[in-house]
């Protein structure tokens, strides 16, 4: 297994290099450059030229690429041209925020998705099954940014007008922490963070949870029709044991592989959800960087996203082996 992981990681290196090279070419081919936001009346062309020189943008593109690659390979990601600070510092601030958000969503997706899927499979063709199917399809078809806005409108604004609505269910509309976060005690801080996490992680995760529920339902249905389940029932085991102990593990197998599919999906979804909820994560950083042509920051953020996706796929493959003993990687 270890050699397998190492081989996979080594294989990822040319892939990642290809990605950053491609991104470098695309972002430099896009019209405009980082000085564009300074092109204003009162800003003379000489100043713009000087900025280009200070930022090394006056050099031929292949020289820029080689120089970027050299510092990149030595671990120097450079300085953001729009935020005027080292990119490492920006990433250190932003990566955890995105991981918190997508981690919470991931939990939500699998916990809710799996639970609902099991219920539906066990009660196949019941009224509950139909209602849940309809609900899942409804949520699945809902764009995350729109759902986010609706959640904000209702749970972060309208309910504030209701006297009787419990305060803990009045959610903040944006940000990761409240205004007075720094002045709070330890538990209050944790509570404040969780409170801020609820709406964005729902907005980000709910559609995927719905689709996990669909997968879980069909996978479970397939499993409980098999002979060994009939055997388990014939042994006189309770239905609960049959489902949760014997059927679940096999039914989970295809679901676990979804993990690898959902993580990239979550990161791209995070771009919109972070925007709507003003969540200071990587997605927003990347989009802002693209609009402002902040080349070094675009390169760094896309690289990080690519790494996440590669790792997520690897994790999915490993989990596959863990869940299904028949699978061996050599």
């Amino acid at each position: 297994m270890t050699t397998y992981i190492i081989r996979r990681l080594l294989q990822a290196i040319p892939l990642l290099l290809g990605i950053v090279t491609l991104v470098f070419i695309i972002v430099h081919a896009a019209p405009g450059d980082p000085t564009a936001m300074y092109v204003q009346p009162g800003v003379s062309p000489e100043v713009i030229e000087q900025m280009r020189e200070n930022w090394g943008l006056d050099r031929p593109i292949h020289i820029q690429y080689l120089s970027w690659l050299r510092s990149f390979l030595t671990g120097d990601l450079g300085v953001s041209l729009t935020q005027n600070r080292p990119i490492v510092a920006i990433l250190a601030e932003r990566i955890p925020n995105t991981l918190i958000l997508s981690g919470a969503s991931l939990l939500l997706i699998f916990a809710i998705g799996i639970a609902i899927g099991i219920v539906q499979a066990v009660r196949q063709h019941s009224r509950l099954d139909h209602v849940l199917t309809l609900g899942a399809l409804f949520l699945y078809s809902m764009p995350s940014f729109w759902l986010g806005l609706m959640l904000i409108l209702i749970l972060a604004y309208k309910v504030h007008l209701l006297e009787w609505w419990p305060a803990v269910l009045k959610f903040p509309a944006s940000g990761m922490t409240g205004v007075d976060y720094d002045l709070m005690g330890g538990w209050a801080k944790l509570g404040d963070r969780l409170h801020h996490l609820v709406l964005p992680s729902i907005a980000l995760g709910v559609a995927s949870a719905a689709s996990v529920a669909r997968y879980m339902r069909s996978s479970m249905l397939e499993v409980i029709r098999q002979d060994y389940i009939r055997t388990a029932r014939a042994k006189g085991l309770s239905e609960r044991t049959v489902i949760l102990k014997h059927a679940l593990k096999n039914a989970l197998l295809p679901i676990v592989t979804l993990l690898g599919l959902y993580i990239p999906f979550l990161f791209s979804g995070a771009v919109l959800v972070e925007y709507v909820f003003s969540w200071p994560g990587m997605g927003r950083t990347m989009v802002d960087a693209i609009y402002q042509r902040d080349y070094p920051l675009v390169m760094a953020t896309t690289f990080i996203f690519a790494v996440f996706v590669v790792i997520a796929n690897l994790i999915a493959d490993i989990l596959y082996a863990v869940v299904d003993p028949r699978i061996r990687y050599e």
Binding site: Q50, N84, L149, I152, Y157
Partner: protein, 546 residues
């Protein structure tokens, strides 16, 4: 709440168990000065300030935070836009052989937030770096007519400059930077120094506390900020939050998470006004919306055609539909509150019949009966562009409909901002017409937009050239006496009105949403944060920390 004014208030707050319970307190209730100190004000806006470093930033909100919150400018403008002392307690001028000498006498008790005194050396340092081309200070042109600076003593600095109107204006816009922090940084690295976003050290009424990128900037009142500059601000903390999505910031404002929401969307105004805990503060801003007609295109070469275009566009309707009334139909490039504004000039009316007559007189007739006019072989059809922004796109749609009524075909194109910028600023001017906004300055200089000498420069979008306008624009930048300059400004506006290089759509009225609990907030064209040190929060309506 970190620092409450009285024990009584704290107890009252604890008993109520929430921070904003008494928000609907009587508006007229008098609160003595001593009880006004304390609390946190949260300002939200959709723009992340690029830097607290004057050498690097050009965006407006960075400038406001620098000049009104973190640093001190030498002078300020009062409400009638007259210069008044700030960091400089006074100034005097003297004539020299080739211009003038301008001496600023600084207050001797303004300290950087690490305790050092702010001196003339800091001002000199800032001036030198701005003038140094290696710094690439974006707004070098502010000091284009300034030649040199000399420190007279620790608190006196003299500038030598060529005489020009508005020579004080740069000093309401430039805050001195601390030499003892940045003095050793190479000029070419000043802009990207971490000072700007991680550890800015100011000398203003608030000091820097924290910056979380994409999230917030936090500032804290400086308790011993000198009385001569206004003294300690009332609020304890100022939190600037970046919220990009307008619906999110509106919800935050209405729910009490945000106290001041800058530049709300016009369609949100009614909801803010309907809410008893919030109000709208609006004021005429410096910006206006316009359509630039590319004068190199045959269709737009004739002033009669351009006038017809303006006559055919219902600007009042645009203001109502797009801005929900928050705009003043424009008649030229001078904003209404500017001293040079031409009061008597009648704006061109909405008059499609006159527009048709003018188009016909200019030779544009619909000969083939397809509803579109032609002149020789050229059809009166053009592409109107803008960048992705809802209000500008709405304007385009309305303009398209209006111009169709007089026989012009408008094709609409929404183009990504940077690629649009590349097209309109390139020498070839590969566009027909576009809708954009422009922000005027208190010290107006429109040469960049309409002077013949600028025809190849990035901002001469109309490719407009009129020697008389050149003369006027040159003269007004030299005449210091406003009463002498005014007739020239008027003539300039009259000519532009007649020749319409642009169709000036409307001057923007900027609406800001404010919670009622924040008192004494004033905002005008000088800035949203212009009197941030005077803001105070009703003691009973302050947030509680827990």
């Amino acid at each position: 709440m970190r620092r409450a004014p009285t024990l009584g208030t704290v107890v009252a707050l604890l008993l109520m168990g929430c921070g904003e319970g008494a928000e609907r307190a009587e508006q007229g209730e008098f609160i003595p000065d001593s009880l006004r100190y304390g609390g946190t004000a949260v300002v939200a806006y959709h723009v992340e300030p690029s830097s607290m470093n004057q050498f690097a930033s050009v965006d407006n909100i960075s400038l406001e935070l620098q000049n009104f919150v973190l640093f001190t400018t030498l002078i300020r403008y009062d409400e009638s836009l007259e210069p008044v002392p700030y960091l400089a307690e006074r100034w005097d001028t003297a004539a020299t052989s080739d211009g003038m000498a301008l001496s600023f006498h600084l207050h001797d008790d303004v300290r950087w937030h690490d305790g050092r005194l702010t001196t003339a050396h800091d001002v000199k340092f800032t001036f030198d770096r701005i003038k140094d081309p290696r710094t690439a200070f974006p707004n070098q042109s502010l000091l284009a007519l300034y030649d040199s600076a000399a420190v007279q003593d620790s608190f006196t600095i003299t500038f030598y400059l060529r005489r020009h109107p508005g020579f004080l204006d740069p000093w309401r816009r430039i805050s001195p930077m601390p030499e003892h922090i940045l003095g050793n940084v190479a000029p070419s690295e000043l802009g990207q120094h971490r000072f700007g976003s991680e550890s800015p050290l100011g000398n203003g009424p608030f000091r820097f506390l924290e910056h979380r990128s994409g999230d917030r900037w936090v500032f804290e009142a400086v308790p011993d900020f000198p009385q001569s500059l206004g003294g300690r601000p009332y609020i304890d903390r100022l939190v600037y939050r970046v919220i990009e999505e307008p619906t999110t910031s509106l919800s935050g404002l209405l729910a009490g998470e945000v106290d001041i929401c800058l530049s709300v969307a016009p369609h949100q105004v009614a909801e803010i006004e309907a809410n008893p805990t919030t109000r709208v503060l609006s004021f005429p801003a410096l910006s206006y919306a316009f359509i630039a007609w590319n004068g190199r295109r045959p269709l737009f070469q004739d002033a009669r055609v351009r006038r017809a275009l303006t006559l055919a566009i219902n600007r009042e309707q645009i203001v109502q539909a797009v801005r929900h009334g928050l705009g003043i139909p424009a008649k030229g490039p001078v904003p209404p509150f500017h001293w040079a504004y031409h009061e008597e000039l009648e704006p061109l009316p909405y008059d499609p019949d006159s527009a048709r007559a003018l188009l016909a007189a200019a030779g544009w007739l619909d000969r083939d009966g397809d509803g579109i006019r032609e002149h020789d072989v050229i059809r009166a059809s053009f592409e109107l562009r803008t960048h992705p922004r809802a209000d500008r796109e709405d304007i385009m749609t309305l303009v398209q409909a209006d111009l169709a009524k007089v026989g012009l075909e408008v094709r609409l194109r929404v183009q990504e901002a940077q690629s649009l910028r590349r097209d309109i600023t390139s020498r070839e001017r590969p566009f027909d017409a576009f809708v954009l906004g422009w922000t005027a300055d208190f010290r107006l200089d429109d040469r960049i937009l309409f002077a013949c000498s600028q025809l190849d420069a990035p901002f001469q979008w109309a490719s407009y050239c009129n020697p008389r306008v050149d003369e006027l624009l040159d003269q007004v930048t030299r005449i210091e006496d406003r009463s002498q300059a005014l007739p020239l400004w008027h003539e300039y506006q009259e000519i532009l009105q007649w020749e319409q290089p642009y169709t000036f759509l409307y001057y923007e009225v900027r609406p800001n949403g404010v919670r009622e609990r924040i008192r004494d907030v004033r905002m005008d064209a000088r800035g949203d944060l212009v009197n941030v040190t005077d803001w105070w929060i009703e003691p009973a309506a302050r947030r509680s920390a827990n």
